[in-house]
Symmetry: D3
Subunit: 131 residues, 6 copies
């Protein structure tokens, strides 16, 4: 069943190659990650997702390293193994040190804990937060 196999550049349609080329150029990498090679089975989603990711991850009011760390924090919370591996690599490339990685995990763990304490105690929102 071909659906769950990746599409390599050599086998890609011109439409898919065009997205791969833009990923490689934007990120300055020799090849695209498995994520894109699997998504290539659905060229419309490949193109839309890449363009959205490119826009969202571009430097803006938040710097690229912080953006990557936020991405990683969400992926750890959701338990997405692939995303944890790929965004740990991306965050390191963007400058995340081992000390920062450790603190990131500590914050993510703590937030997941206090989120449940707030749920469990059914804490009402302070009036001050809404003014």
């Amino acid at each position: 069943m071909p659906t769950l196999s990746p599409i390599e550049y050599a086998d890609a349609s011109p439409q898919v190659r065009s997205v791969y080329d833009d990923i490689k150029k934007t990120r300055n990498v020799p090849d695209v990650n498995n994520f894109w090679k699997f998504l290539a089975r659905d060229p419309a989603t490949l193109k839309r997702t890449w363009e959205s990711v490119k826009e969202v991850m571009a430097p803006g009011a938040i710097d690229p390293l912080t953006t990557e760390m936020i991405y990683l924090a969400v992926s750890v919370t959701n338990g997405c193994g692939y995303c944890i591996a790929s965004h740990t690599a991306a965050a390191r490339k963007a400058g995340m040190t081992e000390a920062m990685a450790g603190e990131l995990m500590a914050v993510v763990g703590m937030a997941n804990e206090t989120n449940r304490l707030a749920n469990g105690y059914r804490v009402p929102i302070d009036a001050a937060f809404d003014t």
Copy 2:
């Protein structure tokens, strides 16, 4: 039923007051948030949670604003209404501008989307991420 009502400073035991005092001093605020007032029903958890939060949120390799944004990103992913409200306020106090808030939400949304695309396509982890 008293369990789900907050404990105000005036009604608190010396043990709980001591935690409240440390929160107020550390954060330089006149009163503690509802979260702590509800947690005070279980003084051991109040004390342990505050000491953990104080340690985890202290300045370190990651700056306080980024730490707050990571906390907020987790809370948005988990859909914890109280935590979203309180940590939006905390992140703003730490310097999050409206532009940064918008970008944060965009990154959190995108990560939640691609986490599911990676799940759905059952993408295997690239060998490069494990070296």
Copy 3:
């Protein structure tokens, strides 16, 4: 729009009344909770869900109080407001003291934290756990 309104006993069909009667008799309560009154819009799901809940929550190898606390722990983790409220009430009725409620929340919070630390550090399963 009638779909999201509850069905009271007086307005219920014989099929729905029969489920309500069994709930009231089994739990020794004068009326059923909102959960069942809303589910009654779909009588087949009402009947199947009640019969499954009755079977799963019946005394067995695990005692009724522990069963209720496990239910509550899941509901807190998922952030289901209705379920937290209803199963807190049920657990108390089954004997959960305030001290137990506090410890339950502490364990749920801690498990949610360490679940993410295990995710984030990508910890492999110890061989000893599989033998």
Copy 4:
């Protein structure tokens, strides 16, 4: 440790065999999936779960293909690897084409994204949705 090993037909009790027989007959398959073989460790849950699944997945107001796609959408959102694999297979058997699989993933991804945007912006429910 036998708990986490599957129970094959040849080794199954009459009670378990009876469920296996009904699964095989209902689905017209030569053997049951691992899911049922592991659940067989708890014959009461095996029987109740199968009867519930059989009732819920039966043709009704929603056709079988749509039912399988809804099941798959939930499994992808929860990141259940086994369920994604088994319900992708089931949805294909029910008629899901590769184009439909791609669109399904796109919708699931988008819903997970907008769910978090709605959380993060704390959007209040429009009055029109409640009338």
Copy 5:
């Protein structure tokens, strides 16, 4: 604090109005939902999200009603109150009957249950699903 207040058409910038106009025209509605009015605080995310939603929800290999039901199934699983309300309304507009709504909830509930049984029993993926 203006951040969490909606932007009405009369107060919107030309860029935001242009998105609102396209939503109203595409959906043939007199006004946009709160979701878009809150997202308008971040015009880039408003525009990108609308264009993605428009593309993903357009008729394709999956019909519009099924697409809306998949969206709703994800929102129910994530417990997003706003999304459940808005996509229940959208699914009804697309043709979801009360019987279909009931079956949808039943399937979503069952999938969430079996996802956890598969997790808890640590069921390995059948070889047949990978061929």
Copy 6:
């Protein structure tokens, strides 16, 4: 890349060894699990997490077996593979029989199902639960 490799006792710093020693003594085990060996990359988080776990899991108003089963219920709900494996082992050591394990999974599955039915039907909290 050393970050994701475990730290064995022989290679550990005095600070880490001190935590390992306390884990081994408290649990009466010859070596610590992988979880702690990976966490040891961040000694502050190792120490804080162990001390919190030790406090939370200590006998109190809830007995140790019930505490372990609650932990396991959360881990199954979150789909944390490592945590399911390690806390299944811990719960068995604390006395969880095979019959109890089966009932635990049944309750966790059912709670995950009814949590979504409560979400989907948007059931309002009964007044009786708040008094």
